[in-house]
Subunit: 377 residues, 2 copies
C-alpha cells in the first residue's frame, strides 16, 4: 500500500520535545519558539514572525490585523481551503471569489481588478502547490487601490517569486502579511501548526498583542510598560513549546527535505509528461516567475470521469491518490452568499485535479510503480 501522505521525521523531533519538556517551560513563546521564528526571519527575509497553532490561526490574526469590519470585501480564489475564507468571514467580511488561472489553480490575477469596489479591503492570493501567484501584478493592483495583500502561503515554504527586474523574493515575504502551515501534510511539519509572517512593520506591535490574547504582555516582559492588561481583541494563537521543538528538528533539515521532494517531483514529471499529453491530461505548470518547492505533484484530467477512473485504477494497485477543494463559491455555506458569477476554471480544477502520493520516504521504486499504474493500468 502506498499512502497519499506519510509525515517524515528527521529523527530529532522527540529529542527536542524531550528538551522542551525538561526545560520546564511548556507553554508558548519559549526557547524553541524563538529559534524557529528567528530561522524564518533570517532565511526568508520576513520582517517579523510569530508561530501559531495552525495556518488557520495565522490567517485569523491577519484578518484581525487587517481590521476587517462587517461588510468589508476580501478577494481570494474560490479554489482553496475553507480556512482562507473562514478567517475573514469570522470578522464579518464578504468574500469575493475569483476564478483560477487556466494554466494553474492559482488566482487569475487579471480578473482581480474588475472585482474591486469601494468596500474592498484585501487581496488573498493562495500559492497553490507552493507555486507563486504573479505577485508583481498583485502588488501593483494592491498599491493602485491601497489594498492589503495577505499571502496564503500554507503550501509555499521555501518557494520564490522573481520580479521583472530580476529580484527574487521568498513567497510570504512580499505581501503585507503571510500565513504558513506546518500541518502533517506539508513539506515541513509540526503536527498542527502555523506561522504568521509580518512584512509591513506597521503591524508588528499589534500582532504581538493579538497573539498574546489582546494583552501587552510582551511589552511588559521587555520592560516597556510597568503592568500589562487588556488592550485589544486577540486570542491564544501561540503553540506549546513542544510543537515548536518538533518544528525545529524539521527546520534543521529543510535543505535535505526539499532536495528529496524535488527529486521525487522530477521523477513524476519526467515519467508522466509524454503520457499526459497523449491522453489529454495536464501536468503541473511552473510559470517562469515561480520556483517549485515540490509540495505537491498533481495531474489535471480532461473531465471528472477520467479522474474517477484514474483514482480507482490507482486504488486497485493499492495507491492512494486524492482530489480536493470543492469550489468555495458553490459550497453549502457560501452558495447563497456568492454573487452568482460562474467560476468555470475553479470548477474545472475541482472536478479534474488529482494529487499523487508525495512524501519524503517515497522511494524511486514507489514512484516507478505509481507511474506504471497510471500509464499501463
Amino acid at each position: 500500500m502506498i499512502p497519499f501522505n506519510k509525515p517524515y521525521l528527521t529523527g530529532k523531533e522527540t529529542h527536542y520535545m524531550y528538551d522542551a519538556v525538561y526545560i520546564g517551560k511548556l507553554s508558548g513563546n519559549g526557547k524553541f519558539t524563538k529559534k524557529c521564528q528567528e530561522f524564518f526571519e533570517d532565511k526568508y527575509g520576513f520582517k517579523k514572525c510569530l508561530l501559531t497553532t495552525s495556518c488557520t490561526d495565522a490567517l485569523e490574526m491577519a484578518a484581525i490585523l487587517a481590521n476587517i469590519q462587517p461588510g468589508d470585501e476580501v478577494i481570494m480564489p474560490s479554489y482553496t481551503f475553507v480556512s482562507t475564507s473562514n478567517a475573514f468571514v469570522l470578522r464579518g467580511a464578504k468574500i469575493i471569489f475569483a476564478d483560477s488561472r487556466k494554466d494553474h489553480p492559482g488566482i487569475d490575477e487579471d480578473s482581480i481588478e474588475n472585482l474591486i469596489t469601494t468596500k474592498t479591503k484585501a487581496i488573498v492570493p493562495v500559492h497553490y502547490a507552493g507555486v507563486a501567484c504573479d505577485m508583481e501584478k498583485i502588488m501593483n493592483i494592491a498599491n493602485k487601490y491601497d489594498l492589503l495583500v495577505i499571502e496564503d502561503a500554507a503550501q509555499a515554504i521555501d518557494s520564490y517569486f522573481t520580479f521583472s527586474d530580476g529580484t527574487k523574493k521568498a513567497l510570504g515575504s512580499i505581501g503585507h502579511l503571510s500565513a504558513f502551515s506546518f500541518h502533517e501534510t506539508k513539506n515541513i511539519i509540526s503536527g498542527e501548526g502555523g506561522l504568521l509572517a509580518i512584512n509591513d512593520t506597521r503591524f508588528s506591535a499589534r500582532a504581538e498583542i493579538i497573539w498574546e490574547k489582546g494583552t501587552n504582555r510582551s511589552a511588559f516582559f521587555r520592560g516597556e510598560v510597568d503592568k500589562y492588561g487588556w488592550v485589544d481583541i486577540g486570542s491564544s494563537f501561540l503553540p506549546s513549546e513542544t510543537i515548536a521543538a518538533f518544528l525545529w528538528a524539521q527546520l534543521e533539515n529543510i535543505e535535505d527535505i526539499q532536495k528529496k521532494r524535488i527529486s521525487i517531483w522530477e521523477q513524476y514529471y519526467d515519467g508522466l509528461k509524454e503520457w499526459a499529453i497523449a491522453n489529454d491530461l495536464r501536468i503541473p505548470c511552473v510559470p517562469d516567475f515561480a520556483t517549485n518547492n515540490a509540495h505537491m505533484f498533481y495531474l489535471v484530467c480532461k473531465d471528472v470521469e477520467q479522474r474517477t477512473e484514474l483514482i480507482n485504477r490507482l486504488k486497485r494497485n493499492n495507491i492512494s491518490a486524492v482530489f480536493h477543494y470543492l469550489s468555495l463559491h458553490k459550497s453549502p455555506f457560501y452558495n447563497d452568499k456568492h454573487d452568482g458569477r460562474e467560476l468555470l476554471i475553479s470548477d474545472y480544477y475541482s472536478n479534474c485535479l488529482v494529487r499523487l502520493p508525495m512524501y519524503y520516504e517515497l522511494t524511486n521504486q514507489d514512484v516507478e510503480c505509481i507511474i506504471d499504474s497510471i500509464v499501463n493500468g
Copy 2:
C-alpha cells in the same frame, strides 16, 4: 528560590509523545485525542468533549455555538482573565461585567438578574480558583430568562458543585457548554491546551463542524455524508496529537496529582489561618456547595500596600508570589465600553489578592518556609 509555579511531569509525557510521533498521525483527532475526550466524558459526565489548543479557543467555540451576534449581551465577572471576555467580543458581543462575591472572587450571583436585558444571550460564570459559583442559582436564572450558561472552568478540573437536593455534579457538567484549560499553570497540563465540554446535545453536531474548520469532515469519516465541504464558520481548534499524548500522561495520574495539591493547600490553610485573622487578611473561602480542587492558594490583603509589602517580603526570601486580574471593566480596552457601574469588590480583589506558590513538587519544608516568611517576615 521557590518559584510561583513549576509544571509537574508524571514521567510518561515524553513516552506517550514518542508514541504519537511514531504512530505517524501527528495532526489532530487521533488516538490520544479520543482517549482524553473519553476520559473526561466518563469521569465527569460531560456529554461530549472536544480537545482544543487552549481554553481561549474552547471559549471561542462556545461563543460561536451560542450564536452570539453583534450587540448581544453576555454577563460575566469583571475579575477574570481577558480570554473570558475576548472570546465573546470577537463575535461582536457587548460584555456586561458583574461584581464578585464578598466572600469569594467568583461572580456575585445575586447581582446577575438585574443585569439581564432583552439583549442578554448568555451568562459566563468563572469558577475562580476551581471553587464553584452557585450553579443552582445561576441555572435557575438562566432557565427563567432562557439564557445559555457557559462555564469558564479554566481552573476547575476535578471540582464539584452540590445542589440543594444533594445531587453532586462536576464543574463543567452543569452549564450548556464549558471550557477547561491545560496551560502549564493548571493542575493538569499539556503546555498550551484546552477542552470544550458540551452538555446540551443540541450543540454536539455543530461543535464538531466548528472544530473541523467549518466542514462536515467528521460526518464524512463516519460515512454519514458522501463528500465533505464548507458548511459553517469555524476554525482549526483541534490540537496536535503530541499535545493530547502529553495530556494523557497527566490524566492517568490525576488522582495522585489532586491528592498532593490538596495536602499542600491544607498545609497552607492550617499554617496561615490564625495569622491571617489576626492581621486583617482573608484566607480562601470554600462555600458549602463547593469542593476544593487545590488549584490555587491565595490570601486577600486588607489593602494594596499590605499586599505589596507581603510580595516584597516573600521576594526577599526568594519566594515568588504574584497577583493577577486587573478588573476588566477598567482595562484600557473596555474602560470606555463599560456602562460606568462601579464594581468595588472586583477592584478589591484586583488590589488585594495574592497567590502563593502552588505546584506538585512543593515540599512540606518549602511550604513551612513560605508560611514562616509570611508570619515571621
